[in-house]
Structures are given as C-alpha cells and as structure tokens.
Symmetry: C2
Subunit: 248 residues, 2 copies
C-alpha cells in the first residue's frame, strides 16, 4: 500500500489502511481514532472509519454520527458521513439489542461486507478501530487486513504498556507494519496554576517504542475538553501534537 493503492469493491484507498489497537480497554483508543481521522481530514485527506470495537462501538457517539447507513440497492450500502469522514460501525448492522455476544466469525463477516458492499468512493485513509487486547477478535481482524499499518494506543503506566506490548508482538508475528505508539493521558496540567502532574507515571510509551523497535509518535494530555468532546459527539481535534502524529 506504500506506493500504490488498496482496491475496494466500490472504492479506492490511496495512501493506506491504519488499524488502531490497544492492550486494555479505556485507554482512549476510540477517542484517538476519531481525532486522528478528523486531523487527517483537516489536512485535506479523504478518510473513512470502520468501527470494529465490539466492546462498545463508540465511534458513532464520539464523532457525533446520528445518520444511519442507507441502502443503495439490495446489497450495496452508502456510508453516512459526518465532519467529512465516512463511518461504518459493526454495531449499527445489528439491532440495538444490548445482549449480543460477538463471536469472531460474525465480526469478520460484517467486516467483509464493509469492504465489499459499502460505497466508500475514493479515500486516502481507511481507519479500523480494533477491539482491545490480544484475543481472537483483534488477531483475526489484523490477519484479514494484513496490508494495514498498526498504531498502538497506550497510557503510560507499567501495567498498560505491558499488555500493549503484547499487541505489538502479535502485530510483528503477523508481519504487520507498526506505524508507531501513541501515549494518551500522559500528564495533567492544572487549569489554575499550570502545574503538570504525571498521574499515570512517565516513560511507558517511550520504553514500549524501544522494545518494539518503533517510535513514540506523540503524547496526549489528560484534558477535560477531550473527554467532553467524546461524550458530546463534538470531538476536539487534539491540538498540534495530534497533527504531528498524522505526518507519519
């Protein structure tokens, strides 16, 4: 995909597929996926997101998507678009029923449908929000999109980077390209006095990047505005550091 393109049934991806992975849940993986997509869009790129995170399918909420996909015909689907980004969530293909236990074959079937039947048109990047961890779900998806580069999101603490590194070694075993590490919630800066505190510790992301022979792309602060943005569907395209991360 480096110098060519990735052909979809009803579309083309010019620059690359990016899968965003993490070790544990709750580290901000989906928040980073959305902000990355918006930052890329701000840089004039055409972007799509496939939400495959079975633990919550939170991309529509974070990006503020309320429209549903529309049927083009019996089989083909027009993806909804919000803030210039096309989004398909595996969660919206199944009734709002809260009790579905996702199994790997079901999720893979939905993803295949997204690659074949969705009218993505011409894109520069197609992002995949993976389920967290190293279980069979994220593993099977990485195998299905072996051309994708992997971005790993982690928080700085030892426990989080240990699990995130396992995702890194899984990606290496699959011969997937690790694009880099994004450390999230790296520090908190007091609104009143500007004091910086590293609540979750320091250096976890850097150490992980070294172990995986990759690079720490950026460190994002713990900020109330980021959380507010995610909760209200008006994501804050995180300031300069994020844009740095997009210049991969």
């Amino acid at each position: 995909v480096e110098d060519g393109w990735f052909k979809l049934e009803h579309g083309l991806v010019n620059e690359g597929l990016i899968a965003i992975a993490s070790g544990k849940g709750g580290v901000g993986k989906s928040t980073v996926t959305v902000n990355l997509a918006l930052a890329l869009h701000k840089l004039g790129r055409r972007v799509g997101i496939i939400d495959a995170d079975i633990h919550g399918f939170s991309i529509p909420r974070i990006i503020g998507l309320t429209d549903k996909p529309r049927a083009f015909n019996e089989k083909e689907i027009i993806p909804p678009e919000v803030n210039g980004v096309k989004v398909m969530s595996a969660g919206s293909m199944i009734a709002e029923n809260k009790a579905i236990i996702w199994r790997a074959p079901m999720l893979l079937g939905v993803l295949e449908q997204f690659m074949k039947d969705v009218h993505w048109g011409e894109l520069d990047y197609l992002l995949f929000d993976l389920p967290p961890g190293t279980g069979d779900m994220p593993l099977n998806i990485m195998q299905q999109i072996s051309d994708a580069g992997i971005l790993i999101v982690t928080t700085p603490q030892v426990a989080a980077t240990k699990v995130a590194s396992r995702v890194g070694s899984m990606a290496k075993q699959l011969d997937s390209d690790i694009l880099g590490i994004i450390e999230n919630m790296s520090y908190y800066q007091c609104d009143k006095c500007g004091d910086k505190e590293y609540i979750f510790g320091q250096g976890g992301g850097q150490k992980m990047a070294k172990e995986l022979d990759s690079k720490l792309l950026t460190q994002l602060p713990l900020m109330a505005t980021i959380r507010q943005g995610s909760d209200q569907g008006k994501p804050v395209v995180i300031a300069e550091p994020e844009a740095e991360a997009t210049q991969k």
Copy 2:
C-alpha cells in the same frame, strides 16, 4: 448470607460474598477490589480474594503477591497470603503463557476448584474480581455465586455509566443484591494549588445509583499515589472514603 454463613468445602464465610463488577475495563475495578480487601482487613475482618478477571488477572500485581499457591495434597491447595489477605488468581492456575483465550467453561471450572479445593479457613468476606462487561463470562460467574452481593465500579463519564448500568440490570435479572456503586476517578485535586477539576465529568455515579435504585457508596479521587500503589504492589488503602464504603 445476610445472617448466616456461606459454607465452603474447606472454609466458612461469616459475613458475605462480594463480587466487584464494572462495565468497561480500565475504570479501576481491580484497584478498588484490592483496596476494599485491605480496608476490610484493617477493620479486623478476615478476607479472601478470587481473581477471575481474564483481561489481566492483575490482583497479584496490585496487592504485591509474589508467593504461589502451595499444594496441601494431590487435590487441595493452600492459598498464599499477603498483607493479611488470602488471594487465589485464576491466572496462576495456568502456565504463564500469554496466549490463552479463556472460554467460560474453563474459567468456571477453575472457580469451582477454588471453592472446593482451596483451604480458605474462616473468613468474614470473600471478594470476587469479575471480568468487566456483560458478556458470557461475568454473567456465568454471577450465576454461579448467586449469594454474592454486587459492587459496581464506574468512572463518572456518560459512556462509562451507560455500560456499567447494563451490568446493574444484569445483576437485577439474576436477582443478585446490588450493594452499591463506587465512582472512581471522580475528580483531580492539584497538588500545588488545591484546585479540583472533574476531568471525567460529574454526577455519573449518582445518576446510575438512582436508576438502579441503589446508593453511591463513595467517590474516589484520581490520584498519582493510587496509580503508583497499584503499579508497585504497595496499594494505598485509599483514605477515609474507602473505609466508608466498607461500612455497607
């Protein structure tokens, strides 16, 4: 279990079984489990913990347990003890292999073994650290320990309390007693100037307690010392509020 006791094969629980549950991962469920156990121990209670959280089995790390269980004979097991608390982790029953995909029957088998073959002796409380979410794992465990009271840990943001409420309704369907809600990472207080910021929003725990017709037991601050304690295996028995939570 209210006024009697719960009989184990090699032990007795005088006061009650408590299962600690959460919606998403990363909200501090295991950190709360350990600090609750230590707070109960400080109040003179005899406590055991069963670590059934397949997403990391992090209880041994957080509580600082390095000893392994010892065999009493072919079948029976002596649980290791640290800081006065007996701990059995499902993770320590299987080789350190990082690639195990846990299935519900395997985990239930291990838990059954813990209830039958482990020499717990006389305890006041036996705590279960559940896997997060409403999937088949936490569901099956709650069914197996239907006498247990359920504590739900959440962070304040809308997305977290929505998922955590689903755990609450699952507990209600199983006719389990919801002991209360613990809201974690409720606010951050600046070390320098004392300014309080509600990084993850406010009121989520309270709203959830109302919806589930339960009570908000306590709100724990986001504190670097809590994270350090968990990372280094020297848990901070979180100050007074936690002790309040133990006076259920």
